[in-house]
Protein backbone atom coordinates (compact mmCIF):
# COMPACT_ATOMS: atom_id res chain seq x y z
CA UNK A 1 0.00 0.00 0.00
CA UNK A 2 1.25 3.45 -0.91
CA UNK A 3 0.02 6.90 -0.12
CA UNK A 4 0.17 9.37 -2.91
CA UNK A 5 -1.05 12.94 -2.95
CA UNK A 6 -3.30 12.26 -5.92
CA UNK A 7 -5.26 9.57 -4.08
CA UNK A 8 -8.90 10.57 -3.43
CA UNK A 9 -9.15 11.69 0.19
CA UNK A 10 -11.50 8.86 1.14
CA UNK A 11 -9.09 6.24 -0.12
CA UNK A 12 -6.19 7.92 1.63
CA UNK A 13 -8.07 7.80 4.93
CA UNK A 14 -8.99 4.15 4.37
CA UNK A 15 -5.42 3.22 3.50
CA UNK A 16 -4.08 4.88 6.65
CA UNK A 17 -6.83 3.38 8.80
CA UNK A 18 -5.92 -0.12 7.60
CA UNK A 19 -2.56 0.25 9.36
CA UNK A 20 -4.33 0.31 12.75
CA UNK A 21 -5.39 -3.33 12.40
CA UNK A 22 -3.52 -6.22 14.03
CA UNK A 23 -3.60 -9.87 13.06
CA UNK A 24 -6.22 -11.90 14.90
CA UNK A 25 -8.54 -8.99 15.51
CA UNK A 26 -12.30 -9.06 15.03
CA UNK A 27 -13.16 -5.89 13.17
CA UNK A 28 -16.33 -4.18 12.04
CA UNK A 29 -16.29 -1.73 9.15
CA UNK A 30 -19.05 0.85 9.01
CA UNK A 31 -20.65 2.18 5.85
CA UNK A 32 -18.76 4.74 3.75
CA UNK A 33 -15.04 5.30 4.22
CA UNK A 34 -14.67 2.39 6.70
CA UNK A 35 -15.91 0.04 4.00
CA UNK A 36 -13.08 1.12 1.69
CA UNK A 37 -10.55 -0.20 4.21
CA UNK A 38 -11.15 -3.68 2.79
CA UNK A 39 -9.21 -2.58 -0.30
CA UNK A 40 -6.12 -1.65 1.71
CA UNK A 41 -5.50 -4.59 4.05
CA UNK A 42 -1.72 -4.93 4.56
CA UNK A 43 -0.28 -8.11 3.07
CA UNK A 44 -0.03 -10.94 5.59
CA UNK A 45 -2.56 -9.38 7.93
CA UNK A 46 -5.16 -11.93 9.08
CA UNK A 47 -8.20 -10.25 10.53
CA UNK A 48 -11.83 -11.33 10.87
CA UNK A 49 -14.19 -8.77 9.43
CA UNK A 50 -17.62 -8.94 10.99
CA UNK A 51 -20.80 -7.80 9.36
CA UNK A 52 -23.90 -7.00 11.44
CA UNK A 53 -26.15 -9.15 9.26
CA UNK A 54 -24.49 -12.27 10.60
CA UNK A 55 -21.08 -12.88 9.04
CA UNK A 56 -17.60 -13.20 10.47
CA UNK A 57 -14.73 -13.43 8.01
CA UNK A 58 -15.69 -11.23 5.09
CA UNK A 59 -13.15 -10.91 2.28
CA UNK A 60 -12.96 -8.43 -0.61
CA UNK A 61 -16.07 -7.32 -2.50
CA UNK A 62 -17.21 -9.74 -5.17
CA UNK A 63 -15.90 -9.17 -8.67
CA UNK A 64 -18.54 -8.25 -11.23
CA UNK A 65 -20.28 -11.37 -12.44
CA UNK A 66 -19.28 -13.57 -9.52
CA UNK A 67 -21.71 -12.28 -6.90
CA UNK A 68 -23.59 -14.67 -4.62
CA UNK A 69 -27.24 -13.58 -4.16
CA UNK A 70 -27.16 -14.85 -0.57
CA UNK A 71 -23.97 -13.09 0.45
CA UNK A 72 -24.10 -9.37 1.19
CA UNK A 73 -22.57 -7.28 3.94
CA UNK A 74 -24.50 -4.86 6.15
CA UNK A 75 -24.07 -2.15 3.52
CA UNK A 76 -25.77 -4.41 0.92
CA UNK A 77 -22.54 -4.94 -1.05
CA UNK A 78 -21.89 -8.37 -2.50
CA UNK A 79 -18.85 -9.73 -0.73
CA UNK A 80 -16.60 -12.79 -0.60
CA UNK A 81 -15.47 -14.90 2.36
CA UNK A 82 -12.06 -15.61 3.83
CA UNK A 83 -11.07 -19.03 5.20
CA UNK A 84 -12.55 -19.51 8.66
CA UNK A 85 -15.68 -17.50 7.93
CA UNK A 86 -18.97 -18.32 9.63
CA UNK A 87 -22.64 -17.32 9.44
CA UNK A 88 -25.02 -16.74 12.34
CA UNK A 89 -28.27 -14.97 13.17
CA UNK A 90 -28.69 -11.30 14.03
CA UNK A 91 -28.97 -11.92 17.77
CA UNK A 92 -25.61 -13.68 17.92
CA UNK A 93 -24.13 -11.04 15.64
CA UNK A 94 -24.93 -8.37 18.19
CA UNK A 95 -23.96 -10.59 21.10
CA UNK A 96 -20.52 -10.51 19.48
CA UNK A 97 -20.68 -6.70 19.46
CA UNK A 98 -22.32 -5.95 22.81
CA UNK A 99 -20.53 -8.83 24.52
CA UNK A 100 -17.23 -7.11 23.81
CA UNK A 101 -15.64 -9.47 21.29
CA UNK A 102 -15.24 -6.84 18.56
CA UNK A 103 -11.69 -5.53 18.92
CA UNK A 104 -11.96 -2.66 16.53
CA UNK A 105 -14.84 -0.70 15.00
CA UNK A 106 -14.26 1.82 12.23
CA UNK A 107 -17.06 4.36 11.95
CA UNK A 108 -17.74 7.42 9.87
CA UNK A 109 -19.06 10.52 11.60
CA UNK A 110 -20.74 13.88 11.36
CA UNK A 111 -19.00 15.24 14.47
CA UNK A 112 -16.53 14.00 17.05
CA UNK A 113 -15.53 15.83 20.22
CA UNK A 114 -12.24 16.19 22.05
CA UNK A 115 -13.38 13.75 24.71
CA UNK A 116 -14.37 11.13 22.17
CA UNK A 117 -18.11 11.78 21.94
CA UNK A 118 -19.44 10.54 18.62
CA UNK A 119 -22.36 12.02 16.66
CA UNK A 120 -22.94 10.16 13.40
CA UNK A 121 -26.63 9.53 13.43
CA UNK A 122 -29.08 12.34 12.92
CA UNK A 123 -28.67 14.93 10.18
CA UNK A 124 -30.13 18.23 11.42
CA UNK A 125 -33.58 19.01 10.11
CA UNK A 126 -34.28 15.49 8.90
CA UNK A 127 -35.84 12.49 10.56
CA UNK A 128 -33.14 9.87 10.95
CA UNK A 129 -33.65 6.71 8.88
CA UNK A 130 -32.43 4.71 11.88
CA UNK A 131 -29.30 4.04 13.85
CA UNK A 132 -28.74 0.50 12.48
CA UNK A 133 -25.87 -1.17 14.29
CA UNK A 134 -23.84 2.00 14.83
CA UNK A 135 -24.87 2.78 18.40
CA UNK A 136 -24.03 -0.67 19.69
CA UNK A 137 -20.70 -0.72 17.87
CA UNK A 138 -19.79 2.74 19.15
CA UNK A 139 -20.70 1.92 22.72
CA UNK A 140 -19.34 -1.62 22.98
CA UNK A 141 -16.43 -2.23 20.60
CA UNK A 142 -13.10 -2.44 22.42
CA UNK A 143 -11.68 0.36 20.30
CA UNK A 144 -13.52 2.83 18.08
CA UNK A 145 -11.68 4.61 15.29
CA UNK A 146 -13.41 7.38 13.43
CA UNK A 147 -12.51 7.71 9.76
CA UNK A 148 -13.81 10.94 8.30
CA UNK A 149 -13.03 13.94 6.17
CA UNK A 150 -11.48 16.58 8.40
CA UNK A 151 -14.19 19.10 7.52
CA UNK A 152 -17.74 19.05 6.19
CA UNK A 153 -18.41 19.74 2.52
CA UNK A 154 -19.11 23.30 3.54
CA UNK A 155 -15.67 23.53 5.16
CA UNK A 156 -16.82 23.46 8.77
CA UNK A 157 -14.72 21.46 11.23
CA UNK A 158 -16.00 18.04 12.27
CA UNK A 159 -13.63 17.73 15.23
CA UNK A 160 -15.05 19.92 17.96
CA UNK A 161 -14.66 20.87 21.58
CA UNK A 162 -18.19 19.61 22.03
CA UNK A 163 -20.64 17.94 19.66
CA UNK A 164 -23.66 19.98 18.61
CA UNK A 165 -25.63 17.05 17.17
CA UNK A 166 -27.34 14.29 19.16
CA UNK A 167 -24.74 11.76 20.27
CA UNK A 168 -24.42 8.18 19.13
CA UNK A 169 -22.28 7.34 22.16
CA UNK A 170 -20.34 9.24 24.75
CA UNK A 171 -16.55 9.14 25.07
CA UNK A 172 -16.21 6.13 22.83
CA UNK A 173 -13.75 7.32 20.17
CA UNK A 174 -10.09 6.45 20.72
CA UNK A 175 -8.58 7.63 17.43
CA UNK A 176 -9.61 9.96 14.60
CA UNK A 177 -8.20 9.46 11.13
CA UNK A 178 -8.75 12.14 8.49
CA UNK A 179 -7.06 13.05 5.23
CA UNK A 180 -4.95 15.49 7.24
CA UNK A 181 -4.02 13.73 10.45
CA UNK A 182 -4.17 10.82 12.85
CA UNK A 183 -5.33 12.09 16.23
CA UNK A 184 -5.67 10.09 19.46
CA UNK A 185 -8.25 10.94 22.08
CA UNK A 186 -6.31 10.97 25.39
CA UNK A 187 -7.30 11.89 28.93
CA UNK A 188 -5.30 15.11 28.38
CA UNK A 189 -7.09 15.95 25.15
CA UNK A 190 -6.59 15.42 21.42
CA UNK A 191 -3.03 14.31 20.71
CA UNK A 192 -1.73 14.63 17.15
CA UNK A 193 -0.02 11.34 16.27
CA UNK A 194 0.64 11.69 12.53
CA UNK A 195 0.20 14.33 9.88
CA UNK A 196 -0.40 14.01 6.15
CA UNK A 197 2.59 14.61 3.88
CA UNK A 198 0.92 17.50 2.16
CA UNK A 199 -0.39 19.20 5.32
CA UNK A 200 1.05 21.35 8.10
CA UNK A 201 0.59 21.53 11.86
CA UNK A 202 -0.93 24.94 11.36
CA UNK A 203 -3.48 23.71 8.82
CA UNK A 204 -4.52 20.80 11.02
CA UNK A 205 -5.00 23.05 14.06
CA UNK A 206 -6.81 25.71 12.07
CA UNK A 207 -9.27 23.21 10.69
CA UNK A 208 -9.82 21.57 14.10
CA UNK A 209 -12.24 23.26 16.48
CA UNK A 210 -10.55 21.91 19.61
CA UNK A 211 -7.04 22.39 20.98
CA UNK A 212 -4.48 19.84 19.73
CA UNK A 213 -1.59 18.50 21.78
CA UNK A 214 1.67 17.74 20.04
CA UNK A 215 4.02 14.98 21.10
CA UNK A 216 7.69 15.84 21.57
CA UNK A 217 9.96 15.45 18.52
CA UNK A 218 9.22 15.13 14.86
CA UNK A 219 5.65 14.18 14.06
CA UNK A 220 5.53 11.25 11.64
CA UNK A 221 4.01 11.82 8.20
CA UNK A 222 1.67 9.61 6.22
Amino acid sequence: MEFCPSMPYKNKIAARAALEMRSGQVINLGIGIPNLILDYLPAGLEVFIQSENGILGIGPRSAAGSEDRNLIDAGANYVTLNPGASFFDSALSFALIRGGRVNLSFLGTLEVSQNGDLANWIVPGKMAPGIGGGMELAQKAQRVIVTTSHSTREGAPKILTQCTLPLTARGCVKTIITELAVIDVTPQGLMLREIALESTLREVQERTDAPLLFPPGEIPRF
Partner: protein, 231 residues
Protein backbone atom coordinates in the same frame (compact mmCIF):
# COMPACT_ATOMS: atom_id res chain seq x y z
CA UNK B 1 -45.82 -38.49 7.85
CA UNK B 2 -46.33 -34.93 9.04
CA UNK B 3 -46.30 -32.65 6.01
CA UNK B 4 -46.41 -28.89 6.59
CA UNK B 5 -46.20 -27.93 2.93
CA UNK B 6 -49.00 -25.73 1.69
CA UNK B 7 -50.13 -24.19 -1.60
CA UNK B 8 -49.92 -20.65 -2.90
CA UNK B 9 -53.69 -20.34 -2.44
CA UNK B 10 -53.65 -21.44 1.17
CA UNK B 11 -50.37 -20.03 2.39
CA UNK B 12 -51.82 -16.80 3.77
CA UNK B 13 -55.35 -17.97 4.43
CA UNK B 14 -55.08 -16.98 8.07
CA UNK B 15 -53.59 -13.51 7.65
CA UNK B 16 -55.98 -10.66 8.37
CA UNK B 17 -56.30 -6.86 8.43
CA UNK B 18 -54.71 -5.22 11.44
CA UNK B 19 -52.30 -8.00 12.28
CA UNK B 20 -48.69 -7.65 13.33
CA UNK B 21 -46.41 -9.41 10.88
CA UNK B 22 -42.69 -10.07 11.20
CA UNK B 23 -40.84 -10.30 7.90
CA UNK B 24 -37.39 -11.86 7.70
CA UNK B 25 -34.46 -10.60 5.69
CA UNK B 26 -31.64 -8.09 5.87
CA UNK B 27 -31.70 -6.36 2.50
CA UNK B 28 -32.52 -8.99 -0.09
CA UNK B 29 -31.22 -12.23 1.48
CA UNK B 30 -33.82 -13.82 3.73
CA UNK B 31 -36.64 -11.60 2.47
CA UNK B 32 -39.70 -13.72 1.52
CA UNK B 33 -40.46 -11.81 -1.69
CA UNK B 34 -43.07 -14.31 -2.86
CA UNK B 35 -45.03 -14.34 0.42
CA UNK B 36 -44.87 -10.55 0.48
CA UNK B 37 -46.26 -10.42 -3.05
CA UNK B 38 -49.10 -12.72 -1.97
CA UNK B 39 -49.78 -10.39 0.95
CA UNK B 40 -49.85 -7.50 -1.49
CA UNK B 41 -52.29 -9.28 -3.80
CA UNK B 42 -54.46 -10.34 -0.91
CA UNK B 43 -54.82 -6.67 -0.02
CA UNK B 44 -54.81 -6.92 3.77
CA UNK B 45 -54.52 -3.49 5.36
CA UNK B 46 -53.65 -1.71 8.56
CA UNK B 47 -50.71 -3.97 9.14
CA UNK B 48 -47.91 -3.49 11.64
CA UNK B 49 -44.75 -4.81 10.03
CA UNK B 50 -41.59 -5.73 11.90
CA UNK B 51 -38.51 -5.99 9.70
CA UNK B 52 -34.89 -4.94 9.96
CA UNK B 53 -35.17 -2.59 6.98
CA UNK B 54 -37.73 -1.46 4.40
CA UNK B 55 -36.11 -3.16 1.39
CA UNK B 56 -35.77 -0.79 -1.58
CA UNK B 57 -38.40 1.08 -3.61
CA UNK B 58 -40.64 -1.28 -5.56
CA UNK B 59 -39.22 -4.35 -3.83
CA UNK B 60 -40.18 -6.52 -0.87
CA UNK B 61 -42.11 -4.78 1.89
CA UNK B 62 -41.79 -1.49 0.07
CA UNK B 63 -44.58 -2.81 -2.17
CA UNK B 64 -46.82 -3.03 0.89
CA UNK B 65 -45.76 0.38 2.18
CA UNK B 66 -46.31 2.04 -1.18
CA UNK B 67 -49.71 0.40 -1.53
CA UNK B 68 -50.80 1.85 1.80
CA UNK B 69 -51.28 -1.54 3.45
CA UNK B 70 -49.04 -0.71 6.42
CA UNK B 71 -49.91 1.49 9.36
CA UNK B 72 -46.76 1.01 11.43
CA UNK B 73 -43.26 -0.18 10.59
CA UNK B 74 -40.91 -1.33 13.35
CA UNK B 75 -37.37 -1.44 11.99
CA UNK B 76 -33.72 -0.69 12.52
CA UNK B 77 -32.69 1.28 9.43
CA UNK B 78 -34.71 2.28 6.38
CA UNK B 79 -32.03 4.44 4.74
CA UNK B 80 -31.87 2.35 1.56
CA UNK B 81 -35.53 3.07 0.84
CA UNK B 82 -36.17 6.77 0.02
CA UNK B 83 -39.83 5.96 -0.66
CA UNK B 84 -40.24 4.73 2.92
CA UNK B 85 -38.26 7.65 4.30
CA UNK B 86 -40.49 10.07 2.39
CA UNK B 87 -43.63 8.37 3.74
CA UNK B 88 -42.20 8.61 7.24
CA UNK B 89 -41.40 12.29 6.78
CA UNK B 90 -44.88 12.99 5.43
CA UNK B 91 -46.26 11.05 8.41
CA UNK B 92 -48.12 8.66 6.12
CA UNK B 93 -46.34 5.83 7.89
CA UNK B 94 -45.58 5.46 11.57
CA UNK B 95 -42.01 4.24 11.91
CA UNK B 96 -40.51 2.98 15.18
CA UNK B 97 -36.74 2.60 14.95
CA UNK B 98 -34.49 0.62 17.28
CA UNK B 99 -30.77 -0.07 17.32
CA UNK B 100 -30.36 -3.15 15.18
CA UNK B 101 -29.18 -5.56 17.84
CA UNK B 102 -31.83 -4.27 20.25
CA UNK B 103 -34.51 -4.97 17.65
CA UNK B 104 -33.10 -8.48 17.24
CA UNK B 105 -33.15 -8.95 21.04
CA UNK B 106 -36.72 -7.68 21.38
CA UNK B 107 -37.83 -10.26 18.83
CA UNK B 108 -35.74 -12.97 20.43
CA UNK B 109 -37.15 -12.09 23.87
CA UNK B 110 -40.67 -12.48 22.50
CA UNK B 111 -39.69 -15.83 21.06
CA UNK B 112 -38.13 -16.92 24.34
CA UNK B 113 -41.25 -16.09 26.33
CA UNK B 114 -39.54 -13.29 28.26
CA UNK B 115 -41.28 -10.04 29.13
CA UNK B 116 -38.37 -7.77 28.29
CA UNK B 117 -34.74 -7.01 28.99
CA UNK B 118 -32.51 -4.30 30.38
CA UNK B 119 -29.78 -2.67 28.34
CA UNK B 120 -27.37 0.22 28.65
CA UNK B 121 -27.36 0.85 24.90
CA UNK B 122 -28.35 4.45 24.32
CA UNK B 123 -28.77 5.48 27.98
CA UNK B 124 -26.41 8.40 27.35
CA UNK B 125 -28.23 9.55 24.23
CA UNK B 126 -31.54 11.08 23.14
CA UNK B 127 -32.83 7.55 22.71
CA UNK B 128 -33.31 7.59 26.46
CA UNK B 129 -36.01 10.26 26.15
CA UNK B 130 -38.39 7.93 24.33
CA UNK B 131 -37.66 4.84 26.41
CA UNK B 132 -38.66 3.35 29.76
CA UNK B 133 -35.76 4.07 32.10
CA UNK B 134 -35.06 2.06 35.24
CA UNK B 135 -32.40 2.18 37.87
CA UNK B 136 -30.12 -0.76 38.44
CA UNK B 137 -27.34 -0.60 41.01
CA UNK B 138 -27.42 3.18 40.88
CA UNK B 139 -27.10 3.33 37.12
CA UNK B 140 -29.72 3.94 34.49
CA UNK B 141 -30.89 1.15 32.24
CA UNK B 142 -33.40 1.07 29.43
CA UNK B 143 -36.21 -1.47 29.63
CA UNK B 144 -37.03 -2.93 26.25
CA UNK B 145 -40.24 -4.94 25.89
CA UNK B 146 -40.39 -8.26 24.11
CA UNK B 147 -41.96 -8.21 20.66
CA UNK B 148 -44.30 -10.86 19.31
CA UNK B 149 -46.36 -11.06 16.14
CA UNK B 150 -49.47 -12.76 14.86
CA UNK B 151 -47.62 -14.01 11.82
CA UNK B 152 -44.00 -14.41 10.72
CA UNK B 153 -43.02 -14.66 7.06
CA UNK B 154 -39.48 -15.83 6.24
CA UNK B 155 -37.41 -17.31 3.43
CA UNK B 156 -35.22 -20.39 3.86
CA UNK B 157 -33.06 -22.39 1.50
CA UNK B 158 -34.17 -25.89 2.52
CA UNK B 159 -36.99 -27.34 4.58
CA UNK B 160 -37.99 -30.88 5.33
CA UNK B 161 -41.69 -31.69 5.52
CA UNK B 162 -41.64 -31.42 9.31
CA UNK B 163 -40.49 -27.81 9.03
CA UNK B 164 -36.82 -28.12 9.92
CA UNK B 165 -35.02 -25.25 8.21
CA UNK B 166 -31.62 -24.47 6.77
CA UNK B 167 -30.76 -20.92 5.72
CA UNK B 168 -28.13 -19.96 3.17
CA UNK B 169 -25.26 -17.67 4.14
CA UNK B 170 -26.31 -14.14 5.07
CA UNK B 171 -29.96 -14.99 4.43
CA UNK B 172 -30.17 -16.31 8.00
CA UNK B 173 -30.12 -12.89 9.76
CA UNK B 174 -33.48 -12.25 11.50
CA UNK B 175 -35.31 -15.28 10.06
CA UNK B 176 -34.81 -17.89 12.82
CA UNK B 177 -35.42 -15.28 15.55
CA UNK B 178 -38.71 -14.16 14.01
CA UNK B 179 -39.81 -17.75 13.59
CA UNK B 180 -39.71 -18.18 17.36
CA UNK B 181 -41.79 -15.06 18.03
CA UNK B 182 -45.09 -15.45 16.20
CA UNK B 183 -48.28 -17.42 16.70
CA UNK B 184 -48.18 -18.54 13.06
CA UNK B 185 -44.97 -19.04 11.10
CA UNK B 186 -45.07 -19.32 7.30
CA UNK B 187 -41.88 -20.14 5.44
CA UNK B 188 -41.15 -20.01 1.74
CA UNK B 189 -38.34 -22.33 0.70
CA UNK B 190 -36.28 -23.01 -2.37
CA UNK B 191 -36.23 -26.75 -1.81
CA UNK B 192 -38.30 -29.27 0.17
CA UNK B 193 -36.64 -32.53 1.18
CA UNK B 194 -37.97 -35.62 2.89
CA UNK B 195 -38.10 -35.61 6.66
CA UNK B 196 -35.09 -37.48 7.94
CA UNK B 197 -32.73 -36.42 5.17
CA UNK B 198 -31.23 -33.45 7.04
CA UNK B 199 -28.39 -33.89 9.55
CA UNK B 200 -29.89 -33.04 12.98
CA UNK B 201 -26.67 -31.16 13.87
CA UNK B 202 -26.98 -28.90 10.82
CA UNK B 203 -30.56 -27.74 11.20
CA UNK B 204 -30.72 -24.01 11.88
CA UNK B 205 -34.27 -23.95 13.19
CA UNK B 206 -36.24 -26.93 14.53
CA UNK B 207 -39.52 -27.66 12.80
CA UNK B 208 -41.53 -27.08 15.97
CA UNK B 209 -41.46 -23.36 15.21
CA UNK B 210 -42.81 -23.72 11.67
CA UNK B 211 -46.51 -23.97 10.81
CA UNK B 212 -46.50 -24.06 7.02
CA UNK B 213 -44.08 -24.27 4.15
CA UNK B 214 -44.54 -22.90 0.66
CA UNK B 215 -42.21 -24.47 -1.91
CA UNK B 216 -41.17 -21.89 -4.49
CA UNK B 217 -41.43 -22.98 -8.09
CA UNK B 218 -39.26 -20.17 -9.32
CA UNK B 219 -37.27 -17.27 -7.93
CA UNK B 220 -38.39 -13.92 -9.31
CA UNK B 221 -35.73 -11.34 -10.26
CA UNK B 222 -35.98 -9.73 -6.79
CA UNK B 223 -34.12 -12.76 -5.44
CA UNK B 224 -31.27 -12.29 -7.90
CA UNK B 225 -28.22 -10.07 -7.99
CA UNK B 226 -29.21 -6.41 -7.69
CA UNK B 227 -27.00 -4.44 -10.08
CA UNK B 228 -27.08 -1.32 -7.89
CA UNK B 229 -25.12 -3.18 -5.19
CA UNK B 230 -22.59 -4.93 -7.43
CA UNK B 231 -19.22 -3.53 -8.44
Amino acid sequence: MIDKTTTIDNALSQVYDGQTIMVGGFGGPGTPFTLIELLHQQGVKNLTLIKNDANEPGMGISRLLEAGQVKTLIASHIGLNPAAVAMMNRRELEVLLYPQGILAEKIRAGGAGLLGFLTDIGVDTILRDSREVMHLDGREAILERALRADVTLIHAAIADRAGNLIFAKSARNFCPLMATAADRVIVEVEKVVDTGSLDPDQIHLPGAFVDSILALDELTPDYGILPQHAL
